[in-house]
Symmetry: C2
DNA sequence: TTAAGGTCTGACAGCGCTGTCAGAGTCAAG
DNA sequence: CTTGACTCTGACAGCGCTGTCAGACCTTAA
């Protein structure tokens, strides 16, 4: 599949799909004429990246996870190192969730003070 | 109180305190010699800004809320317009929370797959 | 063949946020 | 008075992400 189609399927802009590639997150094949040629499975990958990114995870960080999760070859060692990162990230997500909850409270309080209108 | 103290009390860098001011979120008085002079109440304000910001809210957006919440004068009209923004922001926060939750799932699944180690 | 639309690369720019540096003035304690 | 810590302004730069533009090539359908 070409980049335009992947973009439509995932809702991620063409610009960003190329950026993901530049950051090493995607490695599409190329047609003879140089067009990127994506495998269907990449739709899931992109959605996963999107999700992780929405959680405030940085692309290089996501890259670490992809390398492990994809299970390319006998890579068990790197995963050891990833457990730490993983736990840190989970912790981060939890902190962010916490802050969002407080945020939600602040906002709804404001709304209440102003009057539900 | 001078900027350094406010910075220490809130954990917000001096740089950022000045930035908040540039964005209209803080309006400290000035000593004769031009030093910023903050009122004690600003500690709360800064913490509020920090919290809202941690939720991904942009400074100009926070500014809108502060103007209303501070209740400076008989400003009821602007609040009418703010209700919409407020609801949008709450919606945004909820969406982010949702994504973070999914994110958390993805991460903990990864960790489980790798092995709790 | 021609025209329209997709794609390529590379560069530039902007967003919001943050740090840092330079050069100057201020303040408090010795 | 001198020194060291603090503050001022203004500018520059970086982060990660995103859009856009230019100039060229490819593909498809009329």
């Amino acid at each position: 599949m070409k980049i335009g189609e992947l973009s439509k399927r995932t809702g991620v802009s063409i610009r960003m799909l190329r950026y993901y590639e530049a950051e090493g997150l995607l490695k599409p094949g190329r047609t003879e004429s140089g067009y990127r040629d994506y495998d269907m499975a990449e739709v899931r990958t992109v959605e996963r990246i999107k999700l992780l990114g929405a959680g405030g995870m940085t692309l290089p960080t996501i890259l670490q996870f992809l390398a492990c999760v994809r299970g390319e070859g006998p890579i068990f060692e790197p995963c050891d190192e990833l457990r730490v990162t993983l736990r840190q990230q989970i912790r981060l997500v939890e902190e962010k969730t916490e802050k969002l909850a407080q945020n939600h409270n602040v906002l709804t309080s404001f709304l209440a003070e102003i009057g539900e209108g």
